[in-house]
Symmetry: C2
Subunit: 128 residues, 2 copies
Amino acid sequence: MEKLYTITELTREFGISTRTLRFYEDEGLVHPERRGRTRLFRHSDRHIIQNILRGRRIGFTIAEIREIILAYREPPGELGQLNLMLKRVTEKRIELNQKRKDIDDTIAELEIIEELALTRLAEIGVGS
Amino acid sequence: MEKLYTITELTREFGISTRTLRFYEDEGLVHPERRGRTRLFRHSDRHIIQNILRGRRIGFTIAEIREIILAYREPPGELGQLNLMLKRVTEKRIELNQKRKDIDDTIAELEIIEELALTRLAEIGVGS
DNA sequence: ATTGACTTTTACGTTAAGGTCAATAGAATG
DNA sequence: CATTCTATTGACCTTAACGTAAAAGTCAAT
């Protein structure tokens, strides 16, 4: 017997609002069952929510996230669609590699800032 | 004699609009000189624009980008501000490390999708 | 002198991703 | 059964980061 989650259980677990989960349902990303009017989420929905949040953190739009979820769920049967998909995947990978580099560069910059601040702190600490 | 850039030179170089550059000026991120009413950007402005775009790619807001630029430009003199800054830097680094992990996971997932698609392609290619 | 390319300011418009609020409905607990 | 949570639907609201359009100035080239 699969465990079902209420909406507030999930909002607490993931630190998001009920509005957000209903929004994701409206967008067709999750498909909770209903007991009466109340939503009950499955493990699969919970897993999708994790994917959504991960995509969100790296700046994907809902449309892009949906695209990835669908691509995973059912690879297209038609040749043209498959080639299109491969092209999109390649684009995304290039984009993500650029982002990785941007993140590394920014972390390096933050480390410089940190050292500047620590140096100033030491000066002030000594002087006061 | 330092080379100065017109606004369209920069829009072409960076693939952004004039509106965007004026917006960044309104936000106090760049400070082009004026010849008459026309803006002329320095190397330093050009460099800042690169930083803005990098920050933008990894999902920083303009406010966050400004914060980093200012922190770099002039580390605060007061102790409380310095400690606050160190705290913020640590937060950002944690956030960026999470993003790195998210990106790596997503790239791995894209690779799975790619393989699925290539497999399907091979099947179709053989069958047709 | 006119065209064309480029620039300026002002100001309203747009989009994504939810926030917020009101009215209503079930569900659970004393 | 009355109360008290918690959920739902529907509607309008919000914010960031620009887009877009209008009206007008600048400057070189034709």
